[in-house]
Symmetry: C2
Subunit: 168 residues, 2 copies
């Protein structure tokens, strides 16, 4: 899937379906929220979220059980799922997207730069994670993560409401 502005498409799809969104970001540090709020009218559907950058903040801010971090580490499917689920509950949003991974330049917790997990929490409580490997330097990995998160979300919105989530 390619798009000139996936953030605008996500905002339009959510506005069409009358649903809200929250974000839980680690390696992107706020880039996903920044992209969403660059779109005029974002305030109608985007509630906000957390930047759980340091590992302990994934528990403090995003509600990730410390047992999850102890058992699987912050760069894992389980952490991504728990971040998305946690921020969805905290904010009361219908949807939540989460991103955790290694931007580089150094490896982290045994994971190489470019390894990223996205978590997606859907209305009704279904949560899933997808694994990605992005090439390039720190900036490239963070930008690719932001785009992938928005496209993952838009794809799910399209599947749920194919008539309202038309591409602009």
């Amino acid at each position: 899937m390619t798009s000139s502005d996936p953030a605008a498409e996500v905002i339009a799809a959510l506005a069409a379906s009358g649903q809200s969104l929250a974000t839980a970001e680690s390696l992107t540090g706020g880039m996903i929220g920044a992209a969403l709020t660059a779109v005029p009218g974002a305030s109608a559907v985007y509630l906000g979220g957390v930047v759980a950058y340091a590992t302990p903040q994934k528990t403090r801010l995003a509600g990730v059980p410390s047992e999850v971090l102890d058992a699987h580490g912050p760069v894992s499917a389980q952490a991504a799922v728990a971040m998305a689920n946690g921020v969805r509950i905290e904010t009361g949003a219908d949807w939540a997207i989460a991103a955790t991974g290694v931007a580089g330049p150094d490896p982290q917790d045994g994971h190489q730069p470019g390894e990223v997990w996205l978590g997606l929490a859907e209305p009704g409580g279904v949560v899933r994670a997808t694994r990605h490997h992005f090439a390039g330097d720190r900036a490239a990995v963070r930008t690719a993560t932001t785009t992938a998160a928005l496209e993952l979300l838009f794809g799910a919105l399209e599947r749920e409401s194919p008539h309202s989530a038309t591409r602009s």
Copy 2:
């Protein structure tokens, strides 16, 4: 104060003083955190924070007392101070910076686009707010807010530790 990369200067100053930082963002939606985490090594000092975009999230995520919002609204010195104070406590950071205001294009709660309040919470619990009026469109106001927040923080770091917070 002008700077080519105020985020890098903030990260360097915090690293030199061994102190940590958190952010609470409204109109910038994550841009301050994104700027800070663009700097390699940010993880040594930047803990994370919240994007309290929708007004009720300023209470849910940033710990702003609802009485503050009821009495003064989200675009106020009191809200900026409470956001900075709240996220500093939630994260356990030494410093916290907060931004709330109107990016536009439409007025909000009786405030015109470009009106911005920054909140700064310092080690020891001192919190203060500064008022700004930024010209330009939505993108210009958000970018100016991000730069002003980082420069406010760097100025305070310089005053506290003039020998470690040298300009790069």
